[in-house]
């Protein structure tokens, strides 16, 4: 087989329609007689609802119906949690429409269904809700003490405590002993601020109740999970629900959810018997869609004086927000296996306390648990290097798994199949000009330059390709991690690939077409990739966790291979040859040693007419395959950045960024670069720009993009992205995930770089995002106090918010 497509930098088939917006985004849908939904949301973080008066709203022009939680109490079910991380996990009921109690600002308390979106919106103002204020729980450390409860009926803020201990698991030794007997112990508390996924297309849902099978279109990453959850939570037979994720404009984990809004739209459609649409406003999106990160990480890392790491103890407080969404509780635990990073050390313990607060629920956000873990270990490695006065790259070199040591079973119990940290690092150092920049840094320090230079290092790995089903089972997740594909050969020889993954901007229609075009030897343009509609792609587990290519792509390969096997049988029959003599190359089935052959298209038509088939042959080439990975795969890489800090204003500038990632074999280099670039920006943005901030009463202050800062191209330099190729051994394509790598690696690189610029001025830590004012305050504290600026307390740096300020 001649390979022409795999490795080609094809532009995405999807670009034209996704970028112009002239496509099937959910909000573009208009159905005959469609009604519109607007939602009343609680302005209070924590309150009891004492009365709701909807009389006036019901009488308003254009209003069809108003629903409160009481009205739908018997039929609204609840948003399910699919991940009981411990057998005794506690969780309050998560009702689509609150009935008596609201637990975060933005929680839905009533729904208006109008003839037009404007009529529904106007009527919101006519609804009167009486609340009795309750004290909100907003701080994780405070939540842990249970002095104030986010859900009084639950009796505690603690949802679950989940522990991994290498001594107990038999993957290593006892961490307490390691810490007690080591020469150096680094003890730090890092704060992962709350982030908002900030996808470009707001969430939107349309439900058409017509017919036996109701149809939901939704801007979701997970149509298959959504269908199952709707069926289970609302007791609708699964066969009576069809879910479609049409074109979806970004997700980043933020649409890996089963939402109250989806349930409400369905209830509204059922009640009115008409198609209903709900599309959130940007304000609702920022306050009501799930957030990410939000952890306090207490880290103890022990080592010898020579810098050999001996143990790591991690203690987390993880903010669930007010409720558990489908996988909220599992997010911090996905990080549990990654705190050891690329390093070998004997002892590890991880403890996570999942806590409820009166803030928006959290959930998956690009990287989900793994960026937090990588941040902690990569920050701690830099802090250790500083403590030992050692070059941070050298310290890493002393501790990482050497390439000849693969496969390597880590202290967290994962088996890393392949990798070459030396190669990626050496390449990155060279392209970055590490030695030259260190020399410049020295000069700037000596001359007391106003602008100091820092070099940030991050050598990461991550586990990709969620997930081997048996591993998910061992973590008490309700579902598996396989993926399904079908390859259909149409009579003309055109190919339809049906996949159970659900792309939302990644470009899988392009990359999967490339794979199939090569595999079956057909032109790229003759391959169509179908997805996201449970009537078309009946089986699937959707897109998240860098799984689409490494799990879904492998299912596609397996299905294509089955097509080839079937076609061989037909070819042998029609060419009157032995099946063993049929050879398949470049789209044609030939008889060994002859010039006789048939193309796949010819065979397809013969199968379609079925006039002359081998005995017992089912006349179809179409094939299904389900792939369940045996292991994760482990991309890795070395990211280096040069940060300039203006010591006078605290302004931080990213001057240069070089990354060398190893994601194994590459299907489409252009798509890979796109994923890396976008990933980098999201990770850099956590380090420098983004933070969801609540005030003391639990109101989201960053409720618009004026205050929730996302960067644009103008804020970033050109990135140098390069690769080394160490194929994954756990799939035959040799590929690894790439969707989250940039985000996971870049956050610690940036913060390490900022600190490297100012550490000699007495600053050891700065909270994320490293805003100019935080950097300036840290420098001022260090200069004034004479001591070191070590552990900033996030609550003390909360600004005194002036209600008259802002724009």
């Amino acid at each position: 087989m001649t390979i022409t497509e795999i490795g080609a930098s094809r532009l995405r088939k999807e670009d034209q329609r996704l970028i112009t917006g002239r496509t099937r985004y959910t909000d573009n849908m208009v159905l005959p007689g469609m009604l519109h939904i607007a939602l009343v949301r609680s302005p209070f973080a924590h309150a009891r609802i004492t009365a709701i008066n909807v009389d006036e709203a019901k009488r308003a022009p254009g209003v069809i119906m108003v629903l409160t939680g009481k009205d739908v109490a018997d039929e609204q079910g609840g948003i399910p949690s699919a991940w009981p991380v411990t057998p005794d996990q506690k969780a309050p009921p998560y009702l689509p429409i609150a009935v008596e109690h609201v637990a975060y600002a933005g929680e839905i308390v009533a729904c208006v269904i109008g003839r037009t979106a404007a009529a529904a919106r106007d009527a919101l103002e006519l609804i009167d809700v009486d609340y009795d204020d309750l004290p909100p729980v907003l701080d994780l450390e405070e939540a842990m003490t249970d002095t104030v409860l986010s859900h009084p009926d639950l009796g505690t803020n603690l949802s679950a405590t989940w522990i991994f201990d290498s001594a107990a698991a038999g993957t290593g030794t006892d961490v307490a002993q390691a810490l007690a007997s080591s020469e150096v112990v680094i003890e730090r508390t890092y704060y992962q601020q709350r982030l908002i996924p900030a996808f470009m297309e707001p969430r939107s849902t349309v439900v058409d109740p017509t017919g036996e099978q109701l149809t939901m279109w939704s801007a979701t990453q997970v149509p298959h999970i959504l269908k199952l959850m709707i069926s289970l939570a609302l007791s609708i037979p699964e066969s009576k629900v069809r879910v479609v994720a049409p074109d979806v404009g970004g997700g980043f984990g933020g649409k890996l959810a089963v939402t109250a809004e989806e349930f409400i739209t369905l209830l509204a459609a059922r009640r009115t018997g008409k198609p209903c649409k709900y599309t959130e406003t940007r304000t609702e999106s920022l306050m009501g869609a799930h957030h990410g990160r939000a952890q306090v990480q207490r880290i103890r890392l022990s080592a010898t004086k020579e810098g050999i790491v001996t143990g790591l103890d991690v203690n987390l407080l993880a903010d669930m927000g007010a409720y558990l969404g489908v996988i909220t509780s599992g997010i911090p635990i996905l990080g549990a296996f990654m705190y050891n990073g690329i390093y070998k050390f004997p002892a590890y313990r991880f403890e996570c306390n999942n806590l409820f607060t009166n803030k928006a629920p959290t959930g998956a956000y690009r990287g989900a648990g793994r960026p937090e873990a990588t941040f902690a270990i990569e920050r701690a490695m830099d802090d250790l290097a500083a403590e030992l006065d050692m070059d941070p790259v050298e310290l890493r070199r002393k501790n990482w798994i050497k390439h000849e040591e693969f496969p390597f079973t880590t202290v967290a119990g994962l088996e890393y199949d392949s990798g070459n940290y030396e190669a990626a690092t050496d390449k990155a150092l060279k392209e970055f000009g590490y030695d030259e920049l260190r020399a410049e840094q020295k000069l700037r320090r000596q001359s007391g330059d106003r602008v100091q230079l820092g070099i940030g290092v991050s050598t990461y790995t991550e586990m990709c390709g969620l997930a081997p089903s048996r591993v998910l089972g061992s973590l008490d997740y309700a579902a598996g991690g396989w993926e399904h594909a079908q390859v259909r050969v149409l009579p003309t020889g055109a190919i339809e690939v049906v996949t159970g993954i659900s792309p939302h901007g990644q470009g899988h229609e392009t990359s999967f077409s490339q794979i199939v075009a090569d595999r079956l030897g057909v032109p790229f343009d003759n391959v169509e990739v179908l997805h996201g509609d449970t009537q078309v792609a009946q089986r699937g587990l959707d897109t998240y966790g860098s799984r689409s290519l490494v799990v879904g792509g492998m299912a596609v390969v397996a299905a294509a291979d089955k097509v080839i096997e079937k076609a061989k049988t037909v070819a042998a029959h029609l060419l009157e040859a032995s099946r063993d003599d049929i050879e398949f190359t470049a789209g044609a089935f030939g008889v060994k040693g002859t010039d006789q052959s048939m193309t796949l298209g010819e065979i397809a038509f013969a199968v379609f007419s079925a006039h002359n088939m081998p005995d017992g042959f089912e006349p179809s080439l179409d094939s299904d395959a389900t792939f369940d990975p045996v292991n994760f795969n482990f991309p890795h890489g070395t990211h280096l950045c040069a940060m300039e800090v203006d010591t006078e204003t605290g302004a931080v500038t990213l001057r240069k960024y070089v990354c060398v990632d190893d994601i194994g074999n590459v299907i489409n280099p252009l798509l890979v670069d796109g994923q890396i670039h976008g990933g980098l920006v999201q990770g850099i943005s956590q380090a420098l720009f983004e933070e969801a901030v609540y005030d003391e009463s639990g109101t989201l202050v960053t409720g618009s993009f004026v205050d929730y800062l996302v960067p644009s191209a103008a804020d970033l330099p050109m990135f140098t992205t390069d690769r080394t190729v160490t194929p994954a051994l756990t799939n035959t394509l040799g590929v690894k995930g790439v969707g989250e790598a940039g985000t996971i690696a870049s956050t610690p690189a940036i913060v390490n770089g900022v600190l490297d610029a100012v550490r000699h001025l007495g600053v050891d830590d700065i909270l994320m995002p490293c805003t100019p004012s935080r950097v300036w305050n840290a420098l001022r504290d260090a200069a004034q106090g004479g001591g070191r600026h070590r552990s900033p307390d996030p609550s003390s740096t909360k600004p005194d918010l002036d209600p008259a300020g802002g724009n």
Binding site: T283, A714, S773, P799, L801
Partner: protein
């Protein structure tokens, strides 16, 4: 986001606009580029019954000279202000400040007059207009009146323009051969000023002969700092001297506190940025 329903009209003359505005009473609102008003309406922070669009009144748009003044029509788009040769020659501070406003799309829609009447304390043009000794021409039911920049900005989002009045144009004495700089401090490229400093100077024989300094977002209205302007006179273009002359620029100011910084930080920034603005201009 859907605003409360309103009546929309797009008159072609100023008189017509004034009549419509008067008829609307307190419920009328002028629409210029809509870059600030439309978000306000969509967030339902305001709900006027009548929106009167000035976009079709050609007389309100354009840039011209009038003797020793440059005149900018209220409806002139930021992009035109930022790139016009007359502005570059006689009011280059205005050009520099305008270039920092938002992004190209918004600069092609938002207007000079709209930004000034909106009077956002974090907006960039009020301080620049103040430093330029601008004079505002306002028409209303009672005819035309003029207001000096010092009296124009009354409070947060409040100017001397009354409910039934329209800003028609802004006149600025030419500052030909003056040099200028606008230092805008932000965290991302497209952001409102955390602090901004407008500086324009006349330099004679290597020394500052005249100076105008005004601050953005250091209070509810832009602040002109005459003490520093005085201190700069006679100053050589040399960092230490300028640092000394500008050191007190934030004294007595009461800037806002928000996610971008507290008052202390803003006062510090104003001091650093003033020094940088003067040095950059010179």
């Amino acid at each position: 986001m859907i605003p409360v329903a309103f009546d929309y009209s797009a008159p072609t003359t100023l008189d017509e606009a004034l009549t419509l505005l008067a008829d609307a009473g307190e419920d009328g609102k002028i629409l210029a580029g809509g870059q600030s008003l439309i978000p306000v309406l969509k967030l339902r922070l305001a709900a006027p019954h009548a929106v009167i669009d000035l976009g079709r009144i050609d007389a309100l748009r354009g840039i011209r000279e009038d003797g020793d003044h440059v005149v900018i029509g209220a409806m002139t788009q930021h992009h035109d202000v930022a790139t016009h040769p007359l502005v570059a020659e006689h009011a280059n501070l205005i050009a520099r400040a305008t270039q920092t406003v938002a992004d190209p799309q918004i600069r092609h829609r938002g207007t000079f007059g709209g930004a000034l009447v909106h009077a956002d304390p974090a907006g960039d043009l009020p301080a620049a207009a103040l430093a330029m000794d601008a004079v505002f021409h306002i028409v209303g039911p009672g005819g035309e009146r003029t207001v000096a920049a010092a009296d124009f900005f009354v409070d947060l989002f409040t100017t001397a323009v009354g409910d039934n009045e329209i800003l028609t144009e802004v006149r600025m004495p030419k500052k030909t051969a003056w040099v200028s700089d606008y230092q805008k401090f932000t965290r991302v490229a497209q952001q409102w000023s955390i602090v901004g400093v407008a500086a324009t100077l006349r330099i004679e024989n290597g020394r500052i002969a005249e100076a105008r300094i005004a601050l953005t977002n250091m209070g509810s209205v832009p602040i002109r700092v005459q003490a520093v302007e005085q201190a700069l006179i006679g100053c050589a273009i040399e960092e230490d001297a300028i640092a000394r002359a500008t050191a007190s620029v934030a004294d007595g100011t009461n800037p806002p506190s928000d996610l971008n910084g507290d008052p202390d930080y803003r006062r510090h920034l104003a001091t650093v940025l003033t020094r940088r603005a003067v040095l950059n201009a010179a």
